[in-house]
Each structure stands twice: as C-alpha cells, then as structure tokens.
Amino acid sequence: MSIEEAKAAIVEELLMYDDWLDRYEYIISLGKDLPGLTDDRKTEDRLIKGCQSRVWLDSRREGSRLFFDADSDALITRGIIAMLIRVYSGQEAAEIASDDFLFVKRTGLVDNLSPTRANGLASMISTIRGIAAEAAGEDGGR
C-alpha cells in the first residue's frame, strides 16, 4: 500500500465514527494491536521528548526502506503512533521525508487533542521525519 492509500484508509475508518468515544475505542484498539517493544528496547535514546506520556520509537532500514516499531505507556498515544506506523513503516525513506504529514489533521486528532497531546503528536512526527531525512540523505550521498 502506498503512503497515500494508507492515509486515506485510516482517515476513512476514523471518520466512520460520529461519536468521539467510539473514535477513541477505535484508536485504543489500534493501540492494543500494536506489537510494541520489549522492555530492553524501551531505552532513553528511543524516547520521544515532548509527550506527556512516554513514547519510544525504534527504526531499522532495509535497503532504501524504513521500518518503525514503537510503544507507549498510554493506550491512546499507542493508538496514534500505531496509525503513523501503519502509514509510514515499510515506505521509502525519501518519500517519508518529503511527506507533509497533514493527514493527521484530517483525522481530527490535532484540533481535538489537548495542546500537550498535539505537541506529543508533533514530536512523534518530527522524530519520524528526522529519521527518514537522515536515511534518505545517506542514500542520496552514496
């Protein structure tokens, strides 16, 4: 699935629910389905700064593609990061780096989440972007 297809699918699934609590049920279920990280991978250097809850993000490369694993001690945050992983994990580093990430706005999660949470989301996005930009840069320089 391309980045655009994955985004469209998530936005559609989320907006299917009119009620916020149902949307949260859905996000929580995404969070529960996320494999997460084993404790030994929840290290300080994988921790994303700027979130109220703790979020760890790990990445690896296979050729020019990037794969992400993540975890959080809060379920809704876990669900949000699961959404990001569904869209971006396994994609080309260069494509991730140049993506605008604006689909998170269309999910309604940014406007409707508290600023601390919105900041957390912003931190997650900038971390993913940073990793992708670095990987894409290395590829380009090869």
Binding site: E25, Q52, S53, R54, A74, L75, I76, T77, L113, S114
Partner: protein, 401 residues
Amino acid sequence: MDYRKQFPQLEEKPYGKPLVYLDNAATSLRPECVVRAWEENAFRKNANIHRAVHHFSAVATEAFEKTRADVASFIGAGPSDQIVFTSGTTQAINLLSATYGDVAVGEGDNVVVGEEEHHSNIVPWQMLCRRKGAQLRVLPVGEDGAIGLQELDNLIDKRTRLVTVAHVSNVLGLVNPISEMAERCHSRGVPLLVDGAQGIVHEKVDVGALGCDFYVFSGHKIYAAPGTGVLYARKGLMEDLPPYMGGGEMIASVGWEKTEYERAPRRFEAGTQNFTSVPTLSPALELASQMGRGDLDGITGYMLEALAGRKRVHLYGKPSPAARKVPLFSITVDGVHHEDIALILDKMGIAVRSGQMCAEPLMHRFGVEGMLRASFAPYNTLEEAQYFIESLDRAVEMLSR
C-alpha cells in the same frame, strides 16, 4: 442565590456535552462581576496610576490602593503589614528569593522546602541556594501525604534561614498545620513562607492566626483576572530589603551618583502595574466570601467514599484528624494511564488535569509518572461529582478491555 449564573463558561458545551469544570486548582472560572470590573477599568477608568494629576489617574490610583486594603482585610493583615502586588504566586516567590533570600541566605546556610511543593516554590530556592553555596533541605511528606512536625524540628538548625511550605498542596489537597509550623519555626528564629495558591481558595485565611511571616497567592485561582498576585509580609520584614526590579514607581529619586528607593510596598512594584486587572481582586474576593463553600463538604464526603470504594483507584493525600482535605483529589488507577483517562473524560465534557502537576519530586516520592486530578469550586455540584465518578468508571472500563 445561584452562583453558577455568575460563571457564563458553565453554559458551554464542549463536544456537545455540558462542561463539567473540575480543573479549578489550575485556574478558576471567571465570574461576571470580575469581567465587568475589568471592562469598566479598561473602558472608563483607564489611566496609569501613582503618576499624573488628572482625574482618572486619581480614580485608578484609588481603585488600586482600595484593592490593597481589601486584600489586607480578606487575609486579616494589619495596617502596618505589607501587601505587595505581583503577577502571581510564582513572581511573589521569586521576588522573595531575590530580595529576602539574597540578604538572608549565605554560604553554608540552608532553606527548608516541603517535598510536596509546586515547582514555583522549589526552583527559586534551588536557584538561590546554588548561587549562594547554601543547602536546600527537603521536608518530607508521609505515605498519607501529611507533613511531620517532628521532621521539621529535626531539619531546622542554626543555619536555617527560611522554611517554605504550601498552605494546601496542589496535588495532595491537605491543609498543612501552618500555625504549629510557624510556632516551631519562630521558636528557632526562622521565618515561615506559606504558598497560599490553593489555600486562599479553600481556607479562611487569617495571617495573624496562622502566624506565618509571608503568604503569597495568585488572583486567577480565586476568580480574579490572571496576571494578578499578592505577597503579604508581616510588618518589619520587607521594609529594609533591597528592591527586586529597578525602574518606574519604585524610586524616590534618581541621580547618577545615588538613587533612593520608595518605601515598601511600592519599592517592590517596579514599572507600570497591572492597574486594569489588580482591582478585579476586590469583587473576586467579595464573591469568594459570599459563595462560601457551596456544597463542597457534601462533594468531598461523596468523593472520598466513592474513590475509597474503587479497588484499582489510589488517592494521594488522605485526610486525618490532623490534616483536613480540601475538595481536590489526585488519583492513579492501576493499569491505566492518567493521560488516557483525561482524554476520554475531556470528550465527556469533563475538564481535569493529568500529568505531574508541576510537582515532579512529589511524583517521584510516590513512585508514579503522573496523576489525574479533579479539583472542585463552590459552583460545582454533587451531580457533577457523581457524573465524574460514573465517567471515570466508563473510561477505565474502555481502557481495560
């Protein structure tokens, strides 16, 4: 009288749900009388104070100084005690640290700070102690959240220059034994600063009876306009202190060789004061007196029982005969993250606080990452407390499936 009508925000419906505002410890809602006073000051009585001879400068100055008298009377301060206006609790504490602290604390001295303090009553003292080569000593709280008086006695020594503690902690919601602490401090010649940011809202404050030397609070937590704050100092304590900031109305005369300062309190009120907002303290404090406690006793009783009856819920700050509880409840729930609960409650129309609540050392003390806090005001109802508990159950269930 229905005081809810004074607070138009209570008519709001976030996400289509009636607002249940339980984040009063962060800031109270604003009543009509305060906003009307602010508007009147801004639209019809606007002038800089203490300066010009024209009519409105006199009107504005009078309103400002009348508020000083109203504040003094609200907290039982005497005519020779000092009431200094600040931008809030944080600035009041920083002011004290930069003036009183700078003079009183030297190398090898120590300052005693409560373990439950808000960062605003920790960091200014930590900064001072670093600068001076002094020691910051921590007055611990017990498992139930209460401060031990014996511990206080043990911590104070010949080099202790100040003890500072919250009247009521913004996390634990227990009323600290201030008058007993003041007695113990004074018997050792040590002054006591009380952070009244929460205490002023729920306790009838009489600085004379409390016996503290300094008492500070913020206007915005007790219905007044944000950006207002009060520093009370017992008479004789501030009169000889150096200024905090220089400039504006804090000077008596300025020369290149020598500048003379105004006397307290104006010595500590440099620059143009918040003359539009400060006078809102008068109607705010009057409303606070009129409203009294509303149904807060009923709410507190209900909340304590409801929380105690939920096995996975832990309450921090348990009342005892020695430590009364104000209607402020910080909890954790086994297996569920506080932030998740807060996000779900938000969608149910309930505003609560989650996180470390500016008291990181206290979070460490209890071994938690953060807590969920519901804090009530006199305009809250028992039905709202019941709705909170039902919604908490529902959120926990959603998050536990």
